[in-house]
Point group: C2
């Protein structure tokens, strides 16, 4: 009976950190809970302490408190006892590498599957998919495996960007990269635009936010799905 | 006594495949040689045969011929006997994975260090650096290691893109990603814009093409170097 928000981005243009997600947090986590924050992805290389402080500040607008997983002696126990979990964005290679190194990736998956409310943004959303194979990040460290939590039966591409038709740049577009992914991996990929999120409610998955999402399936033309679409059986 | 061209991109906007590099190929490889093409990076997932055909077509404007490494029974022998080598762009994870799987990464490095002329474009340039840790590609397969050829004493970021100051997109900029890289890796990174290349001549490394390159060093502000700058001792 999962309950989760997997958001494309933590921050919308012109807004504060988590601002657009704040109104949904009490519905997700309940009231007066302590939320376990996983700061491993370290955006821009900031420290676990600094990153956790940012989350604490943002959560002040709710009646939830935040504690970083690095503040606990035992990371495994912290996950098992958590009333709610939030994994912030940053570098997905680093995040996944640290989850494996600390031996908590399976525990995290089990906790969420057993009903611990979870929110991910960006890299924290990427790990909700079957693998991290559709991250946009640089491989700054080599994780033991690309396999991630598999909360949904597909991969996620956060910060999905449509091709810029006026661009003169010859680097691959996001769509080309996902096409390359599909030569070696069969699962669908959901291109989740900024402002969109996946809501996991019991055992269903819905697209939320104002925008449509782009669905990429192996050997098929990509297509759009409107907000509200149920993606539970996308495979 | 290395001789190499490490180019940011194979193709410039409005031009054909390799068009801007063709005038330099005879100087690099000499005349009437057979060039070994490494098509492992498979851009957009095209086959080794198709990709090699593209290279053959482009090389028709020179007096050089092209043969794909997959056409040889023994890839190691193909590298050892090659008169010149060209590694095309595509997905760097796939390229590096295949170089390791075929057991030829050290042989390739040795051949180039011993004087076999080499050209790389995009992913083929990325592997010229110390590691592939500054690629822009998606991790569609997990290579055994991120360590690459180390023809230059730094990392390369091909297709380097300056931040778009008007962008409302909140995904990390290239500069932020490289900053994250530097929290876990100490080598400098050369941001090589499209149209630029590194020329390796004997044991010297020069920036070529019309544009400047952006140099990122650990714990220092990034800076620009003009075309013609010697980068041999950048470390």
């Amino acid at each position: 009976m999962m309950k989760a928000i997997l958001a494309s981005t933590s921050t919308l243009h012109g807004q504060g950190y988590l601002e657009y997600l704040i109104p949904h947090l009490n519905e997700l986590y309940g009231n007066d809970k302590e939320i376990l924050f996983i700061p491993y992805a370290r955006p821009g290389g900031i420290s676990h302490d600094e990153y956790t402080q940012n989350a604490k500040e943002a959560f002040k607008k709710t009646n939830l408190s935040v504690r970083g997983i690095h503040e606990f002696k035992n990371a495994a126990e912290a996950i098992e006892k958590a009333e709610g979990i939030f994994t912030g964005g940053g570098n997905t290679f680093l995040l996944v590498s640290e989850l494996y190194r600390n031996g908590i990736i399976d525990l995290l998956k089990q906790a969420i599957k057993n009903g611990t409310p979870y929110m991910g943004t960006s890299a924290g959303t990427n790990i909700g998919g079957l693998t991290m194979g559709t991250t946009n990040d640089m491989p700054i460290v080599l994780p033991k495996s690309f396999k991630t939590l598999g909360l949904v039966p597909f991969n996620i591409n956060p910060h999905y960007l449509d091709p810029d038709v006026n661009s003169t740049h010859k680097g691959e577009t996001r769509e080309t990269r996902i096409k390359e992914f599909h030569h070696f991996n069969s699962q669908p990929v959901v291109g989740l635009r900024e402002g969109s999120w996946l809501e996991l409610d019991k055992n269903e998955v819905f697209l939320r936010g104002k925008l449509s999402a782009r669905i990429f399936k192996c050997s098929e033309d990509p297509y759009e799905v409107e907000t509200g679409t149920k993606l539970t059986n996308l495979n």
